[in-house]
Subunit: 268 residues, 2 copies
Amino acid sequence: MSEEQKNHTNKTYTAALIIIGNEILTGRTQDINTPWLAQKLLESGIRLEEVRIIADTEKSIIHTVNELRQQVDYVITTGGIGPTHDDITSACVAKALDKKLVMNEEAEKILLDYYGEENFTDARKKMALLPQGAKLIPNPVSAAPGFNLENVFVLAGVPKIMRAMYDHVIEMIDVGAPVLSNTISCGLPESVLAPDLGELQQTCPDIEIGSYPHYRGGVLGLSIVARGTDEALLMDITQKIIEIVRKHGEEPRALNIRDEEILSQERL
Amino acid sequence: MSEEQKNHTNKTYTAALIIIGNEILTGRTQDINTPWLAQKLLESGIRLEEVRIIADTEKSIIHTVNELRQQVDYVITTGGIGPTHDDITSACVAKALDKKLVMNEEAEKILLDYYGEENFTDARKKMALLPQGAKLIPNPVSAAPGFNLENVFVLAGVPKIMRAMYDHVIEMIDVGAPVLSNTISCGLPESVLAPDLGELQQTCPDIEIGSYPHYRGGVLGLSIVARGTDEALLMDITQKIIEIVRKHGEEPRALNIRDEEILSQERL
């Protein structure tokens, strides 16, 4: 990804994610798109404000797209752009944005090249029906493209495809300063640290301080996370959190500075 | 869990889940409460209609609670009931339901017994501040209770505690007929089966048919899931799906009838 091409600003942008699909709502499939996208967005200075997991019904998709696109800079949807009867995302986004659903010639050509004329069935042609004016988001994995219209970005639900599409999305949009984070872990109960952490938070609204209890190997532990775009300020607050933990008689057990692998470590 | 005590009906109930906490929205923590709750609810005839993952801000919590409690039978929240400055769920639910936030005597006694008088600090007392009229949901893991008010059930975010609380919730509410599901797996492209599956779905609206492509070990596969409360009808539709797969030249590779371990298998 070439950093030079991007429109970088110091603003922190906002995004919302709409995960469309009954397979998540029935617990059949674990949603692994949210944590991946959340981290990627933060790296580009885009804060995920809300995630909604909704059923693949016209009413819920249209309502959710229209509510969220007013509230945030970027709306990303995943799922429901395949060839089957329950893939209705493109048609619903067209309705939400008051556009006609039309055969997109560029998408049609991509799919025709991929499948060949005799295998380009009606079900596959359906994947080229997109809202008028849609800008394609390439799919290097299985051809059928996603698309962008206004501030809505429509991606596939299969994680491998979604991730490949996201690499294109991030080239299409304005991004901000990366949100950095530090994590301090200890074995103290949350309630012991609560007053000092609350006080520290009040002195510095630009760094968000959160504390997260967890069970790991049957033992209750606590991770304290500080997050913000100003690295010097972040390091200062991190130092103060370490001092608070020490004041209560414990040496912090782990300290991750701008930890990239935090997801696997911190899984509950 | 004693089945006899429950109020069973043939209705399918609806639920919405509100996951409160920046740790999910930053990708720091993977949300494992949704798939667990989704499956548990379906077993009790309760369909999860929507999940919203929101920030721990007063505005978003109050707005989301008030929107969803009008739409579904049961609203379940997880997270934000601990002792720290960012634990504001109880106060926000009180505001959303227009109740006073008061010291709940029963909760206060539970916490006093658990911590002992000299360790019952102000931060811990905060966990007994609940909306007036709240009915406690016991927490056998770490004492601090959840609560129920109207159709809103407020649970902890730590999965181990949330699950223990849910066992009490399910005893407190009306439940319906279990939603059953069968999964048929094959290696055919979704688009090959799309027309036949779409036609089958139209003949039988009471069974929901979904198809989910996935990559496993680098190979694209497809799971077709049929779901409904009528077991005979479900088995009939399942048989028809198997016939459709065979018609297109493949023997289904796996057939899970009311599969309890499907989550781990189907993870992408």
